[in-house]
Symmetry: C2
Subunit: 332 residues, 2 copies
């Protein structure tokens, strides 16, 4: 399989992308090929710094433009048609690549992916999933900020996207689907939560475990946590900052170097780069979005995730999720 | 001033309430009198265990019934008219007390307070405020779960309640009002956040500092954080659990007893009992709600907060907050 990697996305592009790609090729399955998409001069210069570049599995595809942080996402395809994001996505659309990875502007990658790859039938609002570290296995949060003012049927669609992703990419059979809410009982919550609870509970394809309160999230009470993107985004940003806040306080108390060291394993659990990026789910293709500050390890892990999505047939499984007819609850 | 204290509310009632009241009388201002409301036999037996009870400042008012956790809040006044909650609130309503404190069922205390004390004009949805520990001074979150499916004008009213509370009870001049949102710019967020931003920004009585993202909350970016009760409640419960989760991981890493000790100061920062309970704001009276698991210190601190609310004329200031006319934005 061939994975298109936007080589101009990270804060330290293209060095980070090149090193991440080389690590992926060395450490992951041999059927993976990577196409570095970006400025060919910069990329060749960067590749020249490395020995033993496996050229038969690593190629360069030129893209003369680069999307900058200030570029409005909605118009980026029209204004920068030769950007590494646009070119990489077209490689996938035209069958020259099976997946696309970028650490560029999240908004631009999303908007361009929606336009080039198109949403899958039955999924009105493609959604970026994000992983929450928990006391058990990580929980996939859908939606994490892409979609606000959601209707109950959108949250039902997020549940199906999460179900297929967890089963295909993470190998979790019958993933536990939870609904973020302010109480355990079905009748708790706002109108959106109450109606969504009804839809989720009535769907025989979902292993719905009920409402998940704020305090249950870090216990790992579900594999997929469904929420409107407003509360999901607030929670996501809050999590990162609380973890840093508490560890900062602990560190001030433990001034001794010997005592600081053990915190590393805590930091590792909270390190997003372990999770291999955030998948954009509900489009007709594979797009993995990485942090702009990603280290090479995160790029390598994103390649691993993208390869698993391709290998498992994730997109075809999502397209088949609602069968021939309309999704359950599409009238909601 | 006289404060009515529900003596039957905590998990260890009435011992906790009696000890908390005695500490308050000993440590706080001498103009404070406390009326213990509850089963007189139990209370006299408990008081007999203590020496030097200042009877001229501590009295017992009988209430023969007790609200249990399973009692439906909406009907508790009708079904248990002689409960310590009902009796204590009527003491305030009839002028025999200036404030009411309870660690009983939050729902029952709220519902009974609304019915007995009545909402203040201009405040359609009284709200329980809760404090978030931050890197600076604690932030008052309004709403923390009482009110879901809020309209923009309700959030504007929460901002005014928070403004008066922080100014009168905590002595914060011109408290910084923030709106919980998913981006800094005014146009970010869902429909509720966008319209609320317009109302807050247009109100000359408020020191509105703009949108507060999830990651800014623990930095102490505002004194009053305004949010719909759904997201507020999710955030509140999540905060407590994340803090425990991270500290639990740290503790596992630091097995040595010498190393565990310094964590105490971190725990203290996160200890709700320091904050003296959650005020119910927007009713024509003073109600402070404590955790069922409160220790005597939390009861003592709730007396301090209630006394300051009375002394500052908080209720009159809230009643005057919107002047003679309707509140700004009441058409929203």
């Amino acid at each position: 399989m061939r994975i298109a990697l936007d080589a101009m996305g990270t804060d330290a592009a293209p060095a980070t992308e090149v090193e991440g790609a080389l690590r992926a090729l060395k450490e992951l399955d041999e059927d993976i090929e990577i196409v570095l998409v970006g400025d060919p001069d910069l990329l060749e210069a960067e590749l020249a710094r490395h020995d033993d570049v496996p050229r038969e599995r690593l190629s360069v595809h030129p893209a003369r433009e680069r999307v900058l942080a200030g570029d409005p996402p909605a118009t980026v395809l029209r204004r920068k048609p030769d950007s590494s994001i646009a070119v990489g996505l077209r490689l996938q659309k035209e069958g020259h690549a099976d997946a696309f990875i970028s650490a560029g502007s999240t908004g631009a990658v999303m908007a361009a992916s929606l336009f080039v790859l198109r949403p899958l039938p039955g999924f009105e609002r493609p959604s970026v999933g994000t992983f929450f570290p928990t006391a058990r296995t990580p929980t996939l949060l859908l939606d994490a900020g892409t979609n606000v003012d959601c209707k109950p049927r959108h949250l039902l669609q997020f549940a199906h996207l999460g179900r297929v992703y967890m089963a295909d990419v993470l190998g979790v059979d019958e993933p536990r689907i939870g609904l973020l809410n302010i109480g355990e009982e079905p009748e708790k919550g706002d109108e959106l939560a109450q109606e969504t609870h009804r839809l989720l509970a009535a769907d025989p394809a979902l292993n719905f475990v009920g409402n998940i309160e704020g305090r249950e999230v870090v216990k790992g009470a579900c594999d997929v946590l469904v929420a409107d993107g407003f509360v999901g985004n607030v929670l996501l940003k809050f999590y990162e900052s609380v973890a840093q806040f508490i560890l900062g306080m602990v560190r001030r108390e433990l001034k001794d170097a010997d005592q600081v060291l053990p915190l590393e394993s805590v930091m590792r659990l909270l390190d997003y780069s372990e999770y291999g990026g955030a998948p954009l789910l509900g489009v007709n293709g594979v797009t993995i979005i990485c942090h702009g500050g990603s280290p090479p390890k995160a790029i390598r892990n994103a390649v691993r995730v993208a390869a698993q999505a391709v290998r498992s047939g994730m997109v075809a499984d999502m397209a088949a999720e609602f069968g021939e007819g309309a999704p359950n609850g599409s009238m909601a």
